[in-house]
């Protein structure tokens, strides 16, 4: 599928990403180290300051002597210096994170689609040789996604060294699922880097039908639901609910916002990762859409009253 030249481009691009990841991981470790040091120093300061205060009072009262050089002052200076360094490091990490997200928007997933390996009902695509999207890279992506490794995109799991597509009876079906999953992956990256152009396009499509947005909101609130429950909550008939769900899984919705739930013998529906991103963005952009969602559950703050 890829020419040798294209393959080299993929490998080079992944390598650039991995280099940035190493920098990011190093920075994070350093930051944690500084934060730990600050904590230790703070504890030390509390103890020393109290001791010094007692001593100072005693010296003044008993001997009329003024205080000597303060150890607490020194520790305070050290803490200030550490805090300054932490702030600088935090700013650097924010910049690195932005850079990483920017790279991830176009990061090639170095899977060799020509050499799939059947593993029971799953199909695995190994990475190209020399394409080092390894554990550190995967862990960092998960860290940015605020999830536990590996990169879990529903039926598609990206592991160090390979991509596994679950429940794929054929290579064609596996590639189709893989493409859907990577679209969701990129949508997640767009959402994290607040680049909403494509997401908003889909949000606007959702808003064209109250049933589309209604189903997504209901699934966000309730989790997995049967057609019967969706129809009841939205006050529409089951046939209409089925047609709307079906439409939302057609190829003109890519990535698909909803999918059939995986539990055996289940006719239930659930949100996909893309669906979660879309409905959250919908609620952020159009707070009035939240009214229905808020009618059950959320509390009013003092300021809202």
């Amino acid at each position: 599928m890829l020419t040798e030249d294209q393959k080299r481009q993929v490998i080079a691009s992944v390598q650039r990403f991995e280099e940035k990841v190493s920098e990011y991981v190093k920075g994070k470790t350093e930051l944690k180290d500084y934060e730990r040091k600050i904590q230790v120093k703070m504890g030390e300061l509390l103890k020393v300051a109290e001791e010094e205060r007692q001593m100072e009072i005693a010296m003044e009262v008993l001997y009329g002597q003024s205080k000597k050089e303060s150890v607490a002052g020194k520790i305070e200076e050290e803490i200030k210096s550490l805090q300054k360094k932490t702030e600088i490091l935090r700013n650097e990490l924010t910049k690195l994170k932005t850079g990483l997200l920017e790279q991830m928007r176009n990061l090639p997933i170095p899977a060799d689609l020509e050499n799939p390996k059947q593993e029971d009902s799953s199909i695995a695509f190994p990475f190209f040789e020399d394409a080092k999207l390894g554990k550190e890279g995967i862990d960092t992506i998960c860290d940015l996604f605020r999830q536990e490794p590996p990169i879990d995109l529903g039926d598609v799991i990206i592991l160090p060294g390979r991509v596994v597509v679950k429940d794929a009876p054929s290579k064609q079906e596996a590639i189709s699922k893989f493409v859907q999953a990577i679209r969701s992956f990129r949508m997640r990256v767009d959402s994290l880097s607040k680049s909403y152009e494509q997401i908003d396009e889909m949000v606007e499509r959702l808003r064209k039908s109250s049933q589309y947005s209604g189903i997504l909101k209901v699934l966000l609130r309730q989790g997995t639901l049967s057609l019967k429950e969706i129809a009841r909550i939205l006050g529409i008939d089951e046939r209409k609910a089925y047609d709307t769900c079906y439409n939302l899984t057609r190829s003109n919705w890519s990535p698909k916002p909803i999918q059939r739930a995986h539990a055996p013998h289940s006719g239930d529906w659930e949100l996909t990762l893309a669906g979660e991103i879309l409905v959250n963005r919908l609620l952020e952009r159009y707070p009035d859409e939240r009214l229905e969602l808020n009618s059950k559950g959320t509390t009013q703050t003092e300021l809202e009253k």
Binding site: M1, L2, Q6, Q9, S13, E35, I38, Q39, M42, Q83, N106, P108, I109, A111, L113, K117, E119, D120, S121, R146, D152, L159, R162, V164, D167, Q172, E173, I175, S176, V179, I182, R183, R186, L219, L220, R221, Q222, T224, Y246, T249, R250, S251, K256, Q259, R260, H262, P264, L271, E276, L283, E284, P287, R290, L293, N294, G297, T299, T301, E302, L303
Partner: protein, 321 residues
């Protein structure tokens, strides 16, 4: 822009508000009179129709229309003035003396304003949050002629509280103008992304919160869990510095500051409280693993057939394809 310089605009707002009130009372009277006249006019109009005549009378008196227009004009004028004042407040300064603040034995510091009192300005600022004068924000009172800072021991604390009050006034103006406050935004994003998200969400916007409240809210029974709750306050105070959204009231008791209330409101706007989608049980997948047979989802998609270019573009990125 000095607080005193905004005074004349706030005074005008007060005057126009009073004029509007008078006009609205007049409007009520006229509307009630007009209601009676309208009923009569309707009767006459229907009778005229029956007689084959055209009814020439008026449905709404000229006086009523004029009063309505006057009331609308006053409302518009108030809105324009309010907007101007909010803009002025965005870079307001306080007319305070250039001397180190004194603290009395009750741990209070009174900072008198130089020049004439700003009655109308302070009343206007207080009205934004439906408060009376003096107006209190985070244990700092704003009077027309002075600021009183309570519960302080050192002059530097007084200065910090004055700075916080200033920031809060600017913040109020910014929010009233429909703009987002960058401090609120950064704290919201920090809390959402931090390890303490769960603890912060358990605060639930309460004005006063204790360690015990949070322990019970989060069912923190082990010393490790309880330590995380204590660390939440100490660590985020370290990290957020002046943007710390709480006020320490006594050991283990915190109050949500004004900034904290705004942060909570914005947090819930940005990240609504919704029931989490139950996660599918995670399965580790490795080569050779036997994956249980699951019922396949029905043939509900029409997107199986993708072109090579489409596949390449999605998986390998636009640069490669």
């Amino acid at each position: 822009m000095n607080l005193a310089d905004i005074e004349h605009k706030c005074k005008e707002i007060d005057t126009v508000r009073k004029q509007l009130e008078t006009k609205q009372i007049e409007l009520q009277r006229l509307e009630s009179e007009d209601k009676k006249k309208t009923q009569q006019a309707q009767i006459l109009e229907r009778l005229a129709k029956l007689r084959g005549d055209k009814y020439e009378g008026e449905h709404e008196s000229e006086e009523l229309m004029k009063t309505k227009k006057d009331a609308e004009d006053y409302q518009k004028r108030i809105k324009i003035l309010e907007r101007e004042v909010f803009k002025d407040l965005m870079d307001v300064t306080f007319p305070i003396p250039a001397e180190v603040p004194k603290i009395n034995s009750e741990r209070r510091s009174v900072i008198n304003f130089e020049g004439t009192p700003c009655n109308h300005t302070i009343k206007f600022i207080a009205s934004i949050l439906n408060s009376n004068v003096p107006f209190e924000l985070d244990k700092t009172e704003l009077h027309p002629d002075k600021i009183i800072v309570t519960n302080v021991e050192k002059p530097m604390q007084v200065v910090e509280r004055l700075e916080a009050l200033h920031n809060n006034v600017v913040r109020l103006a910014r929010i009233a103008l429909g703009e987002r406050d960058p401090d609120v935004e950064s704290v919201v994003d920090y809390l959402y992304g931090s390890n303490y998200r769960e603890v912060w969400e358990a605060v639930k916007g309460r004005k006063k919160i204790t360690y015990e409240d949070l322990n019970s809210e989060l069912e923190a029974k082990t010393p490790k869990d309880q330590k995380k709750i204590r660390n939440f306050f100490t660590n985020i105070e370290q990290i957020l510095g002046g943007k710390f959204p709480f006020i320490r009231e006594s050991p283990g008791v915190y109050g949500l500051s004004f900034l904290g209330s705004l942060v909570w409101k914005r947090y819930r706007d940005k990240y609504p409280e919704v029931k989490e989608i139950p996660k599918k049980p995670h399965r580790e997948v490795s080569v050779g693993d036997v994956i249980e047979e699951e019922e396949k989802p029905g043939p509900s998609t029409l997107n199986k057939y993708l072109s090579n270019n489409e596949i390449k573009e999605v998986i390998y990125g636009k640069e490669v394809s």
